[in-house]
């Protein structure tokens, strides 16, 4: 299968090369010197229009642009997210990341919804995002839109603490064949992208990407044996079918062979190496149509994924169809409504860890409507809406949001919002059975038994937010947001009465059962600035402060289960600067860090001290689309720890990194 796809890609390479468009050199043309015909032939950049609509969004939004992404030298999306205020990013091992907004960080950050071009990559079986399986060609990303706080009214369940939408760029006439080679002691990347255009109306591209994550370090500075690779091929085709219609098709195939160190029972010295294998792909189509005062979008996708980790084999298929209609009525109402179905069919098989029901078929139906109404035209806008969702497990869920934004002029916006969002229980939360060794007690082997609970309810947040953003001048802007989140029915583990497992060999079993066991109050502030002191320098800064108090329900023996802990530093900051020193040389530097990552696990390795990272990158452009960069990551220390072993995965230490990279667009 892969072979035949690669053969066809190779064939298309030749076609792609033949369809290269005209080369134009130099700086921006003087528009007033061009005639009409020339003006209609110029390819235009449509980014600024988008910035304006984000400025007027009554939510804590942040956008990483393509340019910022490229300057950062990030080879993965989580790495790039370090620059976003209020997003906690921690590397667990060579292939695993914990990424969350507004707390409850975890490898399976189950209150964050991540999407690529509107396609959810939230894993409904394990609840959370497997970043390794959802790698993509970084150079194809147009922007990453981050909404901190509930986005459930539009996007649905599990968008409790935030939504990240990774938007890939439309194939453009100016796209060149692109080769990227990146090599260093942390990872190696080889990517190739070929673009071709059969006309101004049909554009497409295909790509292949190979990433090898080298082993990080163990606590004693030896190899952590956690390396892996990520291999993928894919493509996208955009067809401007008519003045009103736009069609987009995308597909990819991937595989991720990896290794990790696992340990049970909180004794990290007794780890074993364990293989992970992930593979799969997706196909997606989208149709957008514009009418006089409205537009609609219809999108469908199918994913088929396989994952084998700690001997648990998951086969999952998801089919999803979504319809959205946006209408601007004459009375000033701006209405968006939509409806969607999703079917998830999965099979989970395992021995040590298994599900009480191996097969699941989960249906989800949703409908939403949101209306924005200008109470004072162009000054004060009220937006209200709700999503109503029905799913096979918790039946109806409603997720409303009301917001108000005041834009006294085009340079400032003050907004406030209140919303309710839910995190629905996953198959794992309901069905998992996991027996693992915990050491010894009373001279007998002690086992832990984690059991799912089919009676689990959804976790709920009621969020209150305020924010203010202002463009003080063309060269300085600032954004401030604050939140107060009240969570209830958060998932916890209930410590049952230990019982004797009849042998041989006999042992003691400590049962842990998932329950809706605690509530929490979390609050925080997030700030960011964009500063251009001189034309050649761009400085971005961000800072977040947040904390939470967790309360047990009644006097039951509960503790936050793995992946349910707050696990979020009180202070996080990032400052980065880009200096275009000359036309061909540029320098990018980033300083970021956080305070201690708290954990309720009472073991030494769970104490993750605060750290500061310094990354730097020097880029030289040779012209002709050829760019060369040399960079270093984590330059201040020989290694540091970013997260703790919240479940069986033993975390690794991130070493100082050095790399060279070559980027050639031709």
């Amino acid at each position: 299968m892969i072979k035949s796809v690669i053969t066809s890609i190779a064939a298309i390479v030749v076609l792609g090369c033949c369809s290269q468009s005209n080369a134009q050199n130099g700086a921006l043309p003087d528009l007033s010197a061009l005639n009409l015909e020339q003006l209609t032939r110029i390819e235009v950049n449509t980014a600024s229009r988008r910035d304006q609509s984000l400025f007027e969004t009554p939510a804590a939004v942040y956008v990483i642009t393509h340019e910022e992404l490229m300057r950062s030298g990030a080879t993965s999306v989580p790495e790039a997210l370090r620059m976003v205020p209020g997003i906690e990013v921690a590397q667990i091992d060579a292939n695993k990341w914990a990424v969350s907004a507004r707390g409850f960080n975890s490898r399976f950050a189950n209150k964050m919804l991540i999407m690529i071009d509107g396609r959810s990559i939230y894993n409904p079986v394990y609840s959370g995002t497997l970043w390794d399986q959802n790698d993509l060609l970084i150079e194809d990303i147009d922007r990453i839109e981050i909404v901190r706080g509930p986005g459930a009214t539009m996007w649905g369940a599990n968008a409790v603490n935030g939504v990240i939408n990774i938007v890939t760029s439309k194939p453009r006439a100016s796209d060149r064949t692109l080769s990227v080679l990146h090599g260093g002691n942390i990872d190696e990347v080889a990517s190739e992208r070929v673009s071709f255009a059969s006309s101004n109306l049909v554009r497409s591209r295909i790509y292949a990407r190979y990433v090898r994550h080298r082993d990080l370090l163990s606590i004693d500075n030896a190899s952590a044996g956690d390396g892996g690779t990520s291999e993928r091929i894919g493509g996208r085709l955009d067809w401007h079918a008519s003045n009103r219609d736009q069609l987009t098709f995308q597909a990819n195939l991937f595989r991720n062979p990896e290794q990790q160190r696992i340990c049970f029972g909180y004794s990290p010295s007794e780890f074993t190496y364990s293989k992970i294998y992930g593979a799969g792909g997706f196909a997606m189509g989208k149709w957008e149509r514009k009418f006089g005062t409205s537009d609609l979008a219809l999108q469908g996708y199918f994913t088929d994924e396989h994952r084998n980790e700690i001997g648990m084999k998951l086969d999952m298929r998801v089919a999803d169809i979504d319809f959205q209609h946006h209408i601007n009525t004459g009375s000033g109402n701006d209405i968006v409504w939509g409806t969607g179905f999703r079917w998830t069919s999965d099979k989970v098989l395992g021995q040590q860890a298994y599900f009480t029901h191996s097969d699941h078929l989960v249906s989800l139906f949703s409908a939403f409507m949101q209306d924005s109404y200008p109470l004072l035209p162009a000054k004060l806008t009220l937006t209200a809406g709700s999503k109503v969702q029905w799913n096979s497990y918790t039946n109806f869920e409603w997720q409303p949001r009301v917001s108000l934004i005041w834009t006294p002029d085009s340079t400032q916006a003050l907004w406030g919002a209140m919303s309710r969002a839910v995190r629905t229980p996953s198959d794992q939360d309901r069905d998992v059975q996991f027996l693992y060794p915990m050491g010894e007690a009373d001279a007998m082997p002690l086992f832990g038994l984690i059991s799912g609970n089919p009676g689990l309810k959804s976790e709920i947040v009621i969020a209150e937010e305020v924010g203010y953003r202002r463009r003080f001048a063309k060269w300085f802007s600032a954004d401030l947001a604050g939140f107060l989140n009240r969570y209830s029915d958060l998932q916890a583990t209930y410590l049952g009465e230990p019982y004797l497992l009849p042998g041989p060999p006999a042992g003691l079993v400590q049962p842990f059962e998932y329950v809706n066991g605690f509530s929490a109050h979390a609050q925080g502030v997030e700030a960011s600035i964009g500063w251009t002191p001189v034309a050649s320098v761009r400085v971005l800064g961000s800072y977040a402060w947040m904390q939470a108090r967790l309360h047990k329900h009644g006097d039951v023996m509960v503790q936050p289960s793995g992946g349910q802990d707050w696990s979020t530093p009180r202070n996080t900051f990032d400052v980065r600067a880009h200096w275009s020193a000359t036309r061909t040389w540029s320098i990018n530097a980033a300083l970021n860090g956080n305070s201690t990552v708290p954990s309720s696990l009472n073991i030494p390795i769970a104490v993750v001290a605060g750290h500061t990272r310094f990354d730097m990158r020097v880029t030289h452009s040779f012209g002709e689309g050829l760019e060369f960069a040399v960079g270093g990551t984590n330059l201040l220390r020989s290694s540091h720890q970013e997260f703790y072993p919240e479940d069986y995965t033993l975390n690794a230490f991130v070493p100082r990194g050095l790399y060279l990279s070559l980027n050639w667009a031709r």
Binding site: I9, E37, E43, N45, S48, R255, S331, A378
Partner: protein, 185 residues
């Protein structure tokens, strides 16, 4: 598995090798809003307004309806440019006003819901209507400037221009897409 990896690597190497021959530089892209403003300045040269609407001398009256980035970009661009020695007089208007003073009305796409109500009076007043709304020229506007693919296309609804008493030079029509559909208004 090893074989598949080797094939993938071979594929990547093949990409690099096969495309070695072709080289071209990347170009910076001008901003959509600026290009559209330049098009507006340029195209009014090719318009002949109703005789009672143009003194042929003095400033050209451009009205902007709606606040968005495009209208701000237009305001800045127009005030720094002129056409054949005639400066632009730019004025912000609201949908409740009369447009007798306007020769050109640029409507932000955020204001499209007002258009139906204004259509008749704009035709009668002989105002050249322009918008970046993709459906503008097909729904009764005279000139639409939407982004199609990644370029700005000039779309002209000739029937509406004729109804408004506006004559458009064939040189402009030569670079535009002519919409022949008469809006059902």
């Amino acid at each position: 598995m090893r074989a598949i990896r080797l094939i993938c690597l071979a594929g990547v190497i093949a990409f690099v090798a096969t495309s070695l021959a072709l080289c071209s530089a990347q170009e910076p892209m001008p901003d959509e809003l600026q290009v559209r403003a330049a098009i507006v300045v340029n195209l009014v040269r090719f318009i002949t307004f109703k005789s009672n609407r143009d003194e042929m001398h003095g400033p050209l009256h451009i009205c902007l309806l709606g606040y968005d980035q495009q209208s701000s970009a237009l305001e800045n661009y127009l005030s720094a440019h002129s056409v054949d020695g005639r400066p632009f007089q730019v004025r912000r208007v609201s949908s409740s006003e009369r447009f007798d003073e306007c020769q050109v009305l640029y409507m932000s796409s955020t204001e499209r819901h007002h258009f139906d109500g204004l259509y008749a009076s704009l035709i009668e007043a002989g105002v050249l209507t322009i918008s970046d709304d993709p459906a503008f020229a097909t729904s009764g506007g005279i000139i639409g400037l939407p982004v199609i693919g990644d370029r700005i296309e000039i779309q002209i609804n000739l029937a509406c221009a004729e109804q408004s008493g506006i004559a458009i030079s064939s040189r402009l029509l030569g670079v535009a897409k002519v919409i022949r559909k008469v809006a059902g208004k």
